[in-house]
Amino acid sequence: MWRNWIPFWEPGVSSYAGDVDLLFAGLLAMSVAVIMLLLVLLAGFAVRYRAGGHADRSHRIRKSWHWEVSWTAATMIGFLGLFAWGASLYLEVYASAPAGLPIYVVAKQWMWKAQHPGGQREINELHVPVNRPVRLIMASQDVIHSFFVPAFRVKHDVVPGRYQDLWFEAEKVGVFQLLCAEFCGTDHSRMSGRIVVLEPAEYEAWLARQDVGGTLAAEGAALFRELGCSGCHFGTSAVRAPPLAGLYGKPVPLAGGGMTIADERYIRDCILNPHAQVPAGYEPLMPSFAGRVSEDELIRLVAYIKSLAAEPRQ
């Protein structure tokens, strides 16, 4: 049984789950205090000042703005504190992405497909090593899904038409439930899976055991040739296309001015909508491959281009 039915009986097992649980404790403590105060006051006043009673009703509070300002200020300060706490934790986790083990996840009605860089494929399961940041690059093949691992206290929607980044670091070995958290149709509630966290040695062993066709990058290389990309991007052709070696992770100046970073998102967008972000100094000549490549194939192409280290010019 991966989870008990008492809340927080199982502590969170990711690197920031402890912080999230602490935040919850703080919110809960504040809420309980406020609601108890309110209940005491309401019940107290309702009984003490009941219509038939003889309590002293003289010296009622006349000018109310002292009270108003006080409790408004107290509320605002309290709320600002909670906001700052939550915001700083959130930025720490979501505005940064540590270099992690990249794993590609494709969500489709109604299953999760995970693909490791070495080509290992899983359906509705994800094997990861413990105590190592894992970076998920997620895409959806159809509608919006949401990757939710309650034990890690982590969730991110998987929106079709773009890549989503999500990182986590599991701190405990075990099996944890993966759930889809955005309504996606008939079997939305059956779209669950398992996150299997293993010791590093076991993880390597598991990787070695899998039946692998080829690494993602190798399959991507084959696609690259099949689809004719190499015709313009490698070799000598009349068309001048940007070189791809060492492209991944570098800043790219754009034709209309401005800059962007060549991350997975950029590479995917270039394949599907090449005229949106043309690099400076190049003509918008690349055809779009929208409708001709699936999300699975895009992942392989992206993996391949990522693998192209900067070479001396041929």
Partner: protein
């Protein structure tokens, strides 16, 4: 004091067409009341099926396709055909002219048009729901709703689109009425808080609803033509749908709660026999909630893929918008201090509102706190949060107001002990239904789930048991209020000895509300130290 035998708005004309062609705001209110009560039970029936199914972890009552249609129907009907119209079209339509000393609303024929539009929109949506239903959830997220759903999406959104115009007309009518038709001496700071909150509600109705209309129109367009407005395969952006949808739907939740808060201010003052503590603050807090409420929609999208920095801004604004609500709660509590508190059914509802709304509001802070929201968004925690606000808050306030003004509307007194029993049963049933859902959310049960992990069953069973109590409790008023229509004691013009203008005319009121236009001399909640009411126009 026995009511006179002279005619009132109910007895003025008995012909059927005097009802269906009426322009009397009081009759329009009664028409709306009948319609939204019907929708409440339709939505409630769906809820009953949902809770029955969720008593067991497996899918053993209905297939998943049907289950998805059930929770969609529950949401669509409850949000657009019960909660949004509820207090404004029933209590609001009835009381706004009375409370400001006017003979009717500014545009009586527009009022009737509003009811017919509501009826048409509701019929179209009900038709859609019954010929096969919609399975997208009440939020109609694209691209599922536009490209993948096999339900009657276009029909359903068409019904909501039409009903939206009903909302807009009601809001427009209230704004003009409150600005232009106040009785002599009735300055803004002498208005009952119920009017202030309806004014704030009307501003949101008028500004937010058209945006929903265009969003739903685009959904229908994409579904019919296949153009990729929100379809990523054709260059559209699913997140644009979410932004456009929530830009309306967040202010919509304030449309749903502000009138309830207004009712509570009326009840708390009358049943504490005391002036509202911090009247001006409470009045302006209504306006503040309406205004700031337009700036927080992104908190529904923290995990959607919007920029983390946008998320931070929306989180901050969501905390800010909670402040005026907190101020109101403090002011209501302070009103009881050194008052003369009685425990009539309306007051029980008002007290329940303050407690339950506060729990709902505090859990809203959990959700506004962005790092925690990532964990519990799209789970039962959110469902529990908004049911505490909508049902524990709004429906409770609606019932409180219904009981309070029942003598004015019908000319009859309801049986007090039955009403108190129902109020207590509702409170108990409600908490038993929805508190376990906070726990389910923290345990990781996502929303819109037909089947769930077996270890979550204990909380689901508790919730379903509570729901059966709640369902019975909601049926009780149907019976004793219905009974009172025929056999209840006749009410005097002011059975509660309250101060508002509506109590200075007969119960029920005559067709044109007042024999002579009242002249207002003082504020809305003036009571002596001994708790004697001093009416506004005495």
């Amino acid at each position: 004091m026995k009511a006179d035998v002279e005619t009132n708005y109910l007895t003025a004309d008995y012909r059927l067409r005097s009802w269906f062609l009426t322009t009397d705001h009081k009759r329009v209110a009664v028409l709306f009341f009948a319609t939204i009560t019907l929708f409440f039970f339709v939505g409630g029936a769906a809820a009953t099926m949902i809770r029955l199914e969720l008593a067991t972890p497996q899918a053993d009552l209905v297939r998943s396709d049907i289950y998805n249609r059930l929770f969609t129907m529950h949401g669509v009907v409850m949000v657009w055909f019960f909660l949004i119209p509820s207090i404004p079209t029933t209590l609001g339509n009835f009381l706004v002219p009375l409370m400001i000393g006017a003979r009717d609303l500014a545009f009586p024929r527009l009022n009737l048009t509003s009811w017919y539009l509501f009826l048409i929109g509701g019929s179209v949506t009900l038709y859609a729901l019954f010929v096969g239903g919609v399975d997208t959830g009440w939020t109609f997220y694209a691209p599922f709703s536009t490209m993948y759903s096999n339900g009657h999406v276009v029909l359903a959104v068409l019904g909501v689109f039409i009903a939206g115009f009903s909302s807009i007309l009601t809001g427009l009518n209230f704004i003009v009425t409150i600005h232009r038709l106040r009785a002599p001496g009735l300055t803004w700071y002498r208005l009952p808080i119920f009017i202030w909150s309806l004014y704030a509600t009307s501003v949101i109705l008028v500004l937010a609803t058209p945006e929903l209309a265009i969003t739903l129109a685009l959904v229908a367009l994409e579904r019919i033509t296949g153009i990729g407005i929100f379809n990523p395969r054709l260059g559209g952006d699913p997140l644009l749908f979410q932004h456009m949808f929530w830009f309306y739907s967040h202010p919509a939740v304030y449309i749903m709660i502000l009138p309830g808060m207004g009712v509570v201010s009326e009840l708390v003052t009358c049943f504490s026999r005391k002036n509202l503590f911090g009247y001006k603050f409470v009045a302006w807090c209504s306006i503040a909630i309406a205004a700031i409420g337009f700036l927080v929609w992104g908190h529904h999208m923290f995990v959607s893929g919007q920029s983390p920095f946008a998320g931070i801004v929306f989180s901050f604004m969501s905390f800010v918008v909670a402040v005026p609500s907190a101020i109101k709660v403090f002011n209501w509590t302070a009103t009881l201090h050194k008052g003369w508190v009685s425990y009539d059914a309306p007051m029980l509802y008002a007290l329940a509102f303050i407690g339950l709304f506060t729990i709902g509001g505090l859990t809203g802070l959990f959700l506004a706190c962005i790092a925690f929201d990532v964990f519990v968004t799209d789970t039962y925690f959110v469902i529990a949060h908004f049911h505490y606000i909508m049902v524990g808050g709004m429906v409770t306030a609606y019932f409180g107001g219904l009981h309070y003004w029942w003598p004015k509307i019908t000319g009859r007194l309801y049986p007090e002990y039955w009403a108190r029993a129902a109020a207590i049963l509702i409170f108990f049933g409600f908490n038993m239904t929805f508190f376990p859902q906070f726990i389910l959310g923290i345990l990781g049960m996502p929303r819109r789930y037909h089947v769930y992990a077996p270890e979550l069953q204990v909380w689901n069973v508790l919730s379903s048991a509570g729901a059966s109590i709640l369902a019975l409790a909601y049926l009780l008023p149907l019976f004793y209020l219905g009974w009172s229509l025929f056999w209840g004691r006749r009410a005097s013009s002011d059975p509660w000895h309250a101060t508002g203008l509506e109590w200075q005319t007969s119960s029920p009121p005559p067709k044109h509300n007042f024999v002579a236009t009242p002249i207002v001399e003082r504020g809305p909640y003036v009571y002596t130290v001994d708790g004697e009411a001093v009416p506004q126009n005495a």
